[in-house]
């Protein structure tokens, strides 16, 4: 339903009853891939966020905080600057970047006494800022036109959507959601306490590696296709938990659906709010997300 409504809304008015040649072209080659991509990106980010939050026992954690997104952004940028023209380079390097960033954060946070959450989050912040500075350095290599495109993309932008990008993120979103849902029962225990989970039979280290790996895959492909759409991984799982409780066996798959709806709606606003111009969808999600984040932070004493 959301998808249908989103298809029909746009800066170019299209009637399904009097379909012109041009209208059909806009519908199937521009709007539809964009909406489908948005749905996959939203689902991916929300699922990654929900799983990371459970793993780190912090409802305010999300891919961006851990540097996963920035790793993916840097990977994409490297592909953009040095390997432009290779279609597969962007998602591949984004995944690699997300994976390396996650691994770096994990190694930094790990200590002889095991892993504690404060160290992990702090390491994430450090990796994020470090990667940001490399991103800034690399963007200086871009010429003005490409820089504008890249800046838009960095904020989270679905306007470059293609069917190829959609298939890629669909595959990643499907695999990621299924694998992470399969770990949801273990995550229910991890969410309460890592030592507890271990005591009650969870292979804590293995679950952690699976979640990190799958979150890197989801975030990497999502960022490669549409840049850093912020706050989705934070807001959506939160709303889902408000609606159905904390059981990750429901939260993880429901986040996929809710995330898809959320990003498609946000992108519809981005496309239509100041039509015929467009906003990056990341600007809309951040515009909704940041105040909500502050509100939640103040209300719930995290």
């Amino acid at each position: 339903m959301t998808l249908v409504a989103a298809i029909l809304l746009g800066s170019e008015r299209i009637s399904i009853f009097e379909m012109t040649e041009q209208g059909r072209a806009i519908l199937f080659h521009i709007r539809l891939p964009r909406i489908l991509l948005g749905a996959c990106v939203g689902g991916s980010l929300a699922v990654a966020g929900a799983s990371l939050q459970a793993l780190l026992r912090n409802p305010l954690a999300e891919p961006y905080l851990l540097g996963v997104s920035n790793g993916a952004a840097l990977g994409t940028l490297v592909a953009f600057v040095f390997l432009d023209g290779y279609g597969f380079a962007r998602p591949l390097l984004a995944f690699a970047g997300a994976g390396i960033a996650t691994f770096a954060v994990y190694q930094m946070a790990k200590s002889r006494m095991g892993m504690n959450v404060e160290r992990l989050v702090l390491s994430g912040v450090i990796v994020t800022t470090f990667l940001s500075s490399i991103i800034v350095l690399l963007t200086s290599l871009l010429d003005a036109a490409r820089l504008r495109g890249y800046t838009f993309w960095l904020l989270g932008d679905l306007s470059q959507a293609t069917y190829d990008g959609f298939y890629m993120t669909l595959a990643a979103a499907t695999v990621g959601t299924i694998v992470l849902s399969s770990q949801a029962r273990a995550l229910n225990l991890m969410m309460v306490g890592e030592r507890d989970a271990f005591d009650f039979g969870v292979e804590v280290g293995r679950v952690r590696m699976i979640v990190f790996g799958m979150a890197s895959l989801l975030v990497g492909t999502a960022v490669a296709a549409s840049g850093s759409v912020g706050y989705v991984g934070l807001i959506v799982p939160h709303l889902v938990r408000l609606a159905i409780g904390s059981d990750n066996r429901l939260v993880v798959p429901m986040s996929a659906i809710a995330g898809a709806i959320f990003v498609v709606l946000a992108d519809t606003v981005a496309r239509t709010a100041i039509a015929p111009r467009e906003l990056p969808v990341g600007a809309i999600t951040a515009l909704i997300g940041a105040p909500l984040f502050i509100y939640l932070l103040r209300r719930a004493n995290y």
């Binding site: 459970a54 026992r57 912090n58 409802p59 399969s182 949801a184 029962r185 273990a186 229910n188 225990l189 969410m191 309460v192 306490g193 030592r195 507890d196 271990f198 005591d199 009650f200 039979g201 969870v202 292979e203 938990r241 409780g245 904390s246 059981d247 066996r249 719930a300 995290y302």
Partner: protein
Amino acid sequence: MLKINDITIRYGPCDVLRDISFELHEGEMIALLGPNGAGKTTLIKALNGTLPASGEILLNGTPLFSYSRREIAKRIAVVAQENETKFPVTVLEFVLSGRFASGSVFGWESTEDLELANKALEECDLANFGTRLMNELSGGERQRVVLARAIATDAKILLLDEPTANLDLAHQAMMFRLVRRRCREAGSSAIVITHDLNLASEFADKILLLKQGTIFAAGPPAEVLTEANIREVFGVTTLLDRHPASGSVRVTAVY
């Protein structure tokens, strides 16, 4: 059920536990006593494989390390010092998570799991708490939920790390009675860390008195709880007499 031969654990240069050996028999309840920093919690962590220890730990005759996490969790349940969660987890969900090791990794709980969880809640005097949220409970209530989760596992060995720390008088007794009844009736056994010498004297079959990582004394309460032992380990002077009702050793500190 659990046989410990000469285990030693070191953090850095110093031994936290040194040459600990003892045996936990079926139906037995052992109280682990000792001052702060004596290594009680470390010992509990070693017994379920959380901390690696040199030496030998045999669970039902087989080395502990040859069991998987789930297999250990099916046999040994831990009540650790309490945990807080920032997620809105209900009491029933929390207790059901104790059934993780018995069910499938992916699936949902069975009706049997649900029955065990509800029975455990009832036993811990939490019959109507199922739908309450964990982070809305008081410290003592939460501690009872943590006990209920351990009981819901149906594991034969219970390891309890200061389970009575936040409990009122009535629930302290309930906790110890419950654990002892499980030992007597269900063929379970338990190791309980406590600072309450009188509860240990009243309920435990055997006391291990730890001092600086070694077992200072071990045996039935009446043998271990002596004026001399307590002064040596805790550095306090006490008066000992018999409890007028139960006849077990009663320890009164002299200030």
